[in-house]
Symmetry: C2
């Protein structure tokens, strides 16, 4: 039976004749690639060396048409015909032969506008760009829906771990209750080295840089920005709301000292950079910060540059997804997987996946109203009355103490270190207690304040 449907302007004609019959040998699907770095090389390599296999799975020949690079003459590790390379974006973005644009160069501009131009030219987009998708995702998805094209971004979060597709398809029968993740490999590597080798942060960061896990300027990772972008994307997809990165409470790992790992371990915890979001009536909680994680919790066991995402749905219960969260090959796996999925959809000559719809009425809870447990490390004079004074601050702020331990004494200046963990309390009260304690006369410093997850 013949069925007629509305289909994307740019693609449909190639797969269906005007007589209404799908052609038996469809024309190849022409793809433009933006970026030929760590990820781009792997994407190009797979497409060039695995063509027949990919084309069979996609149901259509996939043809790498053009690759946008900064310097055409640069020596490259992969073998690629110089004819494929161009330094002129319009050779991809305004090229009528290109139907799909894959952007793996990263960073905000000019990539956002490249993606926008591709959409306006009626091209489908596949991107690994977390910054663009976190900041501008809803607008780009709206624009794509208006042009009847699709934007795929599985690679933007968690490398090759199937996350976006899990939310968009597999868990669609669920109300997502919460998502908790270790989603930044760099900080996880750094924290891991601090924990296992007792390194100060600066040394651990240098090691991460030497091992290729940290950038020359690591502040995007260390400061928690990268994790915030990823959480913004995950929360938006999970709850179908617009969560902007700047609405997410963010703290990096900068303040953590080696001694905190020792105390945490004594209490039964690891320290991880946690990205967490949770549904509340009419609002959601969303935050990125280092936290003490029970050694029993699977997130405590995430090693090195691995990523792990814990999802809780009301039907499915808890699902844990773990894998390499970054790197050329895992990210290329997601990009090329998206391409095959998209190609199958295009091959059928129809509109692609259902468009996103984002509910604007659901907002993010201000951090002060969030309830959490906390860990304080406090340096105080070693003399009578100190414990009472500190206990009184917590009591007056309505914060209930879970454990209270007096640690190493420094004989040279007659101070001791107190380690306090609390029961779940309002973040505002925990912060107030922190400020008030810092002003107490026998307190030298609140040297560490971390949440307990």
């Amino acid at each position: 039976m013949l069925v007629v449907s509305l289909a994307p302007a740019a693609d449909g004609a190639k797969y269906a004749s005007e007589l209404g019959v799908v052609t038996s040998a469809p024309r190849p699907l022409n793809v433009g690639l933006i970026g030929l770095g760590t990820v781009g090389s792997q994407v190009a390599e797979r497409m060039l060396s695995w063509g027949p296999q990919l084309s069979r799975r996609a149901g259509v020949e996939l043809c790498l048409q053009k690759v946008l690079v900064r310097d055409v003459a640069k020596r490259r590790t992969i073998e690629i015909s110089p004819d494929l390379l161009t330094a002129d974006p319009s050779e991809i973005l305004e090229n009528p032969a290109v139907e799909v644009v894959m952007e793996v160069a990263g960073g905000d501009e000019p990539m956002r506008s490249y993606i926008e131009r591709a959409i306006h030219a009626g091209k489908h987009v596949i991107t690994a760009n977390k910054v663009v998708m976190a900041k501008h995702g809803p607008e780009l998805l709206d624009a794509a829906a208006g042009k009847n094209v699709d934007v795929y971004f599985e690679a933007a979060v968690g490398g090759g771990i199937p996350l976006i597709s899990t939310f968009r398809t597999d868990l669609q029968a669920n109300r997502i209750e919460r998502v908790s993740a270790v989603i930044n490999g760099t900080t996880n590597y750094v924290l891991g080295r601090m924990a296992s080798a007792g390194l100060p942060m600066a040394d651990a960061v240098r090691e991460a840089q030497e091992a290729g896990y940290a950038e020359a300027d690591p502040s995007d990772d260390i400061g928690g920005f990268d994790a915030t972008y990823k959480l913004a994307i995950l929360a938006s997809i999970a709850y179908e709301i617009k969560v902007r990165p700047d609405e997410i409470y963010r703290e990096g790992i900068e303040g953590i000292e080696p001694v905190d790992f020792r105390y945490a371990r004594e209490l039964g915890y690891a320290i991880k950079l946690i990205a967490h979001t949770q549904r509340h009536p009419g609002r959601v909680e969303a935050r990125v910060h280092p936290a003490l994680v029970s050694l029993e919790h699977p997130l405590a066991r995430v090693e090195g540059a691995e990523n792990a995402v814990f999802v809780e749905g009301d039907l499915v219960g808890q699902v844990l997804l773990v894998g390499q969260g970054a790197g050329g090959r895992p990210t290329a796996s997601a990009v090329v997987g998206d391409l095959i999925d998209l190609a199958r959809s295009i091959r059928r000559g129809v509109q692609s996946r259902p468009s996103f719809s984002f509910d604007d009425r659901v907002g993010v809870i201000p951090i002060g109203e969030v309830k959490t447990r906390a860990y304080y490390r406090i340096r105080v004079d070693d003399r009578p009355g100190v414990l009472a004074a500190i206990g009184q601050v917590f009591a007056e702020e309505g914060v209930s103490i879970s454990s209270f331990i007096q640690k190493d004494a420094w004989s040279h200046d007659m101070t001791v270190e107190l380690v306090v963990t609390t029961h779940p309390s309002l973040e505002a009260s925990l912060q107030k207690a922190r400020e008030r304690m810092a002003r107490l006369e026998p307190v030298h410093a609140v040297s560490a304040f971390l949440r307990v997850f």
Copy 2:
């Protein structure tokens, strides 16, 4: 632009007028449900109580048309209109109003023939039936392709863990190298109780039955059959070949004694029922058996009725997927997730997902040719020369010993227990060594033989 494509006979007409325009308010998608037990109740419950939400996500109203039950008059835990219930399969299978059949009753016949009838009547099928999909999946998928309908079976393996979709979409850019899984909750619960409480197997099974984790007749789980069905499905999808359950080497957990858990732990291992498949040149390895798993390996940490699947792809590296592998709610999550995915596809008035293609030329390696490590527990006379005799058997069979420990002596009969682990060796050689040792005069028994994973 208008595009015309070939679409399923039964569905297309409802979503597209003869004038070639998608109707703005499509007719609801009518669904028949087979089975109203643990899973079926949860599926029905979600569809009845969450209708608008599911319909919005599916892009079309989902309408539960009929439910096939054995006894219409039976009292049920969920509120469901008696008009929906029927005991006559043809009211679903031959009902022209029903477009999608969801089968969650389980077992081989009559479910295989119900699914076949549904396909022949031009209906799409969603099934949670691992037995039918493992034994007859390739034929049913072929039949479905011939009728231009689709068979979804995410729920057949690993409850709500996204597995089938991960292989079919997310990892399509990869060559899958291996899949290793703890995929049977019952045996994992039983082994866990034996390990933690030192229970004999019979007691642990009884506990599992009382906790609702084991059937009255637990042989399907304990004997490894259930895991074999699931591995057959996973291997078939992962490698795009037909792997039949009876081609998979299978051993249940029956022979394991509490003492083996103690010895395993001393050596740094847990004991799990492992389903494992691995690609070799031109062939695949596929086996289900209990195994010693390093305590460092994530599969060693899978607790209770949880399932965990480790996948290795050549691009993505290792991905681990964990969740509740059974139970009404997680399984319903997968079934209703499949329904939404299918509905989106039908709504577009097109043929559904790409059909499967299975390569018949790739076979399963006979177990004797597989290389693995092994653990032996051997009861021998406590006298000189015994170690030499045993060592000679291993040497003659070309099996290299990894560890050799003499354990508890029984003074009453002058015997001791030897625990031997080997380096990777041919399974045939390991078995030969086992037989030869059992015939040695000072050997009372080879009390345990387990693979080391």
